[in-house]
């Protein structure tokens, strides 16, 4: 059939037009074989621009459209929809990316114009070989999975459940609650963290749409948007959840109380059978088999003897639950960095050098010191406290993190203020690089710490903390404003250690094929316009897993992630990408190479009758499940006999593009 191709070159304001001579591009591409229409416009994606495309399709009976504009990730869908409205199959549209790949990265107009023309030619060559494709349909399982049971995961789950959908939370530790449950007070209002969090935990546990899998981990994920299949490992609690009444006698009577308490950051110990904290949900303990005498030596069994409900089950095994989900929200949160690279602060040398998270536990009434501010070495009340900010944040020498952890300036101001309020005799000094307190009522909060509570803020870094023979600490720092070295005595030093994504995220991201950045934060589909979605369809981001955030921001983002998930679950069917692989059974020899490289398990083998000129036989050949195929193209490259081809990106089309570029 005679091709009738239309070419539309976008200026993108001055984004493209300042570096690419768009008139020249139109002029050159109009000469290409099959091109019957070529024009340029300031904003092709605008209503007027799209109308121009639609009009040309109708008037000139176009069979293919090439838009020379921004990345297809930005507007391919826009132009496909436009073509469809004008009566053209949406897969007869090709994008030549002359913005990200040309105007934004080149300076010389002549060279840039030439490259834009070449990319335009390649797109024309490809569109000439395009065939109309039709998107298939897939079903949507109306159930969501939330990975992580901190405030982010809880909020997302509550919002999804509120919209009427089933949602499961998988939490690795024995209780939901996350980091927020470890905090004492929250900025800038200083309300108690537990008071605002525990009602939400109870709500999540009581909501009949929400199922909690605590002490559980995601083990395997397969499938795709709308239809994920997930294996969840319920680790053996050694306590029967259906029988346990949560009376707590087992924890009291457990003779082995030497396990370091994770919840109190190792500042004190807990029993081998334990709930992390008093308000834990579910209020069912687990046996830490690494510390339990029964599991270590076979002798003990005290908990079993004292349990009235007969809930202790030493024989319990891990259980794998397989469930289907339409959407998955990642809310795996953060931890603070290890301080191994920061030996100068003597964190490993002195128990009186602590992290801010440890201070939260010390200041908490349910913490290891019952809320009394005291040194961990000798339990004496401190007289002088020094806070060091940016420990491992904003680091340029590779020891820590390049980014700002964002929450430290505010929580340090909070700690300083709370200490000055409760213990007015304690001198509090804060060393900082910059104080960064943007946010509603945030800067006012910090100023209160300085002006009303007389916290001594010093602009400068600390070079060394030296534990002295008398048990005190000496802080060696610099005051950049006074331009002098400082040596001051301290009884306690608090380090605002950088936060980093939960280390499990690497494993989880791999299972989800969700992309991750160099700092292990999950990548958004678009940094500005799609901040709660992963580039992998059906995966959403909630909380610090996407980047450093405080509680209000986390809760907002958790709600946004829920809305996106609800939007997906509300659909009955999803259109599937028709650009999937197909095997030419005439050429396929059933070697299994394609199945071995397929990351989605979309290829299987069948015995099929092959009929051709002089051939009639039954052969083992590859069959692609188009519902599973994501169109990555790995099989088409791997296939030794060229039998695999990707619709919309066929081998012929790719070669035609290469030919056009090399012409």
């Amino acid at each position: 059939m005679q091709q009738r191709i239309g070419v539309f070159v976008c200026h993108c304001g001055s984004n493209i037009a300042a570096t690419v001579d768009v008139k020249k591009v139109v002029e050159m591409l109009a000469l290409e074989p099959g091109v019957v229409h070529a024009e340029d416009y300031q904003y092709m994606c605008s209503e007027v621009g799209q109308a121009k495309i639609a009009e040309a399709i109708k008037e000139k009976q176009l069979t293919g459209v090439v838009v020379c504009s921004c990345s297809p990730r930005m507007h391919e869908t826009t132009f496909r929809k436009c073509a469809e409205r004008a009566g053209l199959n949406p897969y007869m549209v090709e994008i030549a990316n002359i913005r990200e790949q040309v105007s934004w990265i080149h300076k010389d107009m002549e060279e840039a114009t030439q490259k834009a023309v070449i990319l335009g030619r390649a797109a024309i060559a490809k569109v000439s070989l395009n065939t109309p494709l039709k998107a298939g349909e897939s079903r949507v399982t109306k159930r969501a999975l939330v990975i992580g049971g901190g405030i982010a995961g809880i909020q997302t789950a509550l919002d999804i459940a509120d919209a009427g959908y089933e949602v499961d939370i998988v939490e690795k530790t024995p209780s939901i609650g996350g980091r927020m449950s470890q905090l004492d007070k929250t900025f800038p209002t200083l309300d108690c963290s537990a008071c605002i969090l525990t009602p939400k935990m109870v709500e999540a546990s009581a909501n009949e749409k929400i199922t909690l899998y605590t002490y559980s981990e995601v083990e395997k994920v397969s499938g795709f948007v709308g239809d994920f299949t997930v294996d969840i490992r319920k680790k053996a609690r050694s306590v029967d959840m259906s029988k346990c009444t949560g009376c707590g006698v087992c924890q009291e009577k457990c003779p082995n109380k030497k396990a370091p308490s994770e919840f109190n950051r190792g500042l004190n110990t807990r029993s081998a059978i334990y709930t992390p904290f008093a308000q834990a949900i579910p209020n069912v303990p687990v046996i830490d088999r690494e510390h339990c005498t029964k599991f270590l030596t076979g002798k003990c069994g005290v908990c079993s003897k004292v349990c009235q409900a007969g809930a202790i089950d030493y024989e319990q095994q891990d259980e794998i639950i397989t469930e289907k989900y339409g959407a998955i929200v990642v809310a795996t949160g953060f931890d603070i960095i290890k301080l191994d690279n920061y030996g100068e602060y003597a964190y490993d040398q002195s128990p009186d050098v602590i992290t801010s998270l440890e201070l939260e536990r010390i200041m908490n009434a349910a913490g290891p010191t019952k809320g009394h501010l005291e040194r961990m070495s000798d339990h004496k009340a401190p007289k002088n406290m020094v806070f060091i900010q940016c420990v491992g944040s904003r680091c340029s020498d590779g020891r820590g993190k390049s980014y700002c952890s964002k929450i430290c300036c505010m929580y340090t101001a909070k700690h300083a203020m709370l200490i000055r309020d409760k213990y007015p005799d304690v001198n509090v000094t804060v060393f900082y690089i910059d104080v960064r307190t943007p946010g509603k009522n945030f800067d006012e909060f910090y100023r209160r710490a300085v002006e009303d509570y007389h916290v001594n803020y010093i602009k400068g870094q600390v070079g060394k903390v030296t534990p002295e023979a008398d048990g005190s600490l000496t802080v060696h720092g610099v005051d950049l404003i006074d331009n002098k070295q400082i040596k001051m005595k301290a009884d306690m030093v608090v380090l605002a250690a950088a936060i980093e994504p939960n280390p499990d995220i690497r494993k989880i991201a791999t299972m989800l094929t969700a992309s991750i950045d160099t700092n292990n934060f999950l990548t958004e589909a678009h940094a500005k316009l799609r901040p709660v979605e992963s580039p992998t369809a059906g995966i959403f981001l909630s909380g610090v897993t996407q980047g450093p955030k405080d509680i209000p921001e986390t809760v907002s983002q958790a709600g946004a992630a829920a809305v996106k998930a609800i939007g997906l679950l509300a659909k009955d069917k999803l259109l599937t990408n028709p650009c999937t692989a197909q095997a030419d059974i005439m050429a396929c020899n059933g070697c299994s190479t394609c199945a071995n490289v397929c990351p989605y398990g979309a290829i299987s083998y069948e015995d099929k009758e092959v009929r051709g000129p002089g051939i009639r036989e039954v052969r083992r050949v590859a069959v692609v499940n188009s519902a599973l195929c994501q169109g990555c193209g790995a099989c088409t490259v791997a296939c030794p006999s060229g039998a695999m081809d990707l619709q919309g990106f066929s081998n012929r089309q790719i070669i035609a593009e290469v030919d056009a570029i090399c012409r």
Partner: protein
């Protein structure tokens, strides 16, 4: 096992002890230090000017001499070790310096950082092994509280020197344990002694070294050991309230191995 050995100027006059005890101990521990011929002064200070070539050449000559013999290069003086190790890193990783130094030297084969530079302590730790030393000790320093003084030259920059953790090193403490003593860990053990400032501002280096010594004394050290002649000099001149004796670590090693009298004779 034979190593190329770069003693450096100070070990030929002020710090003869450091050298003599090391050689005797090496022999007893089964390795030999073969002094490279015609070695020249390392310069004492690593030149920070990135266009500075001439002052690096003597180090490159020493490094190349070891390379030609196919031996690792052992140093003893902290300053020499610091300079030679850093120049070696330049020759390995900084193309410009590598190019210009080789252009200048016109060696038979260009030198590109092939030689491994080891401090004597690293030989003890990594090649001989502190456990093996422990077995050869005949006069252990039982009950002696010994403070290791590292100074800065052996430790920093950490990524180039790769000697030990620059903030909380332990190689000298392990050494002290190997010779039967009790290491005293005090926070000033890697602080600067003042270095060459003692030439210009005596009072400053006296007070810097004094703080180090007083800090060690507050943790009840009986004595200090060091690998650096300049540190030893500054510590001995310090204004510390408590004067502690300072020894080269090789002297204690020789003594523990029962070689001290022999060397002194």
């Amino acid at each position: 096992m034979k190593y190329s050995y770069y003693p450096g100027c100070t070990l030929k006059n002020k710090a003869k002890d450091l050298d003599a005890y090391a050689r005797a101990s090496a022999e007893a521990l089964g390795f030999e230090l073969e002094e490279i011929e015609d070695w020249q002064c390392c310069g004492g200070v690593y030149p920070l000017g990135s266009d500075e070539i001439a002052t690096k050449l003597s180090s490159v000559r020493a490094l190349n001499a070891a390379k030609e013999k196919g031996q690792d290069l052992v140093t003893l003086c902290s300053a020499c070790h610091h300079v030679i190790k850093r120049v070696n890193d330049d020759m390995k990783n900084v193309a410009d310096i590598q190019f210009r130094a080789n252009n200048y030297l016109k060696l038979d084969e260009p030198y590109t950082g092939e030689t491994q530079v080891l401090h004597f302590l690293e030989v003890l730790r990594d090649r001989v092994g502190f456990d093996a030393i422990k077995e050869k000790v005949v006069k252990p320093f039982t009950g002696k509280k010994i403070g290791a003084y590292y100074g800065c030259l052996l430790l920093r920059p950490g990524k180039i020197l790769e000697f030990d953790n620059p903030e909380n090193p332990k190689i000298m403490e392990d050494f002290i344990r190997a010779i039967g003593g009790e290491p005293v860990i005090y926070p000033y053990r890697n602080e600067c002694c003042g270095g060459y400032i003692s030439l210009k501002e005596k009072e400053l280096s006296k007070s810097m070294a004094g703080k180090i010594m007083d800090n060690a004394a507050s943790f009840e050290a009986d004595m200090l050991i060091t690998a650096c002649p300049l540190c030893l000099y500054n510590l001995n001149k310090s204004d510390a309230k408590t004067k502690l004796p300072v020894y080269y670590f090789t002297e204690l090693l020789a003594e523990a191995l029962g070689l001290k009298e022999e060397v002194q004779a």
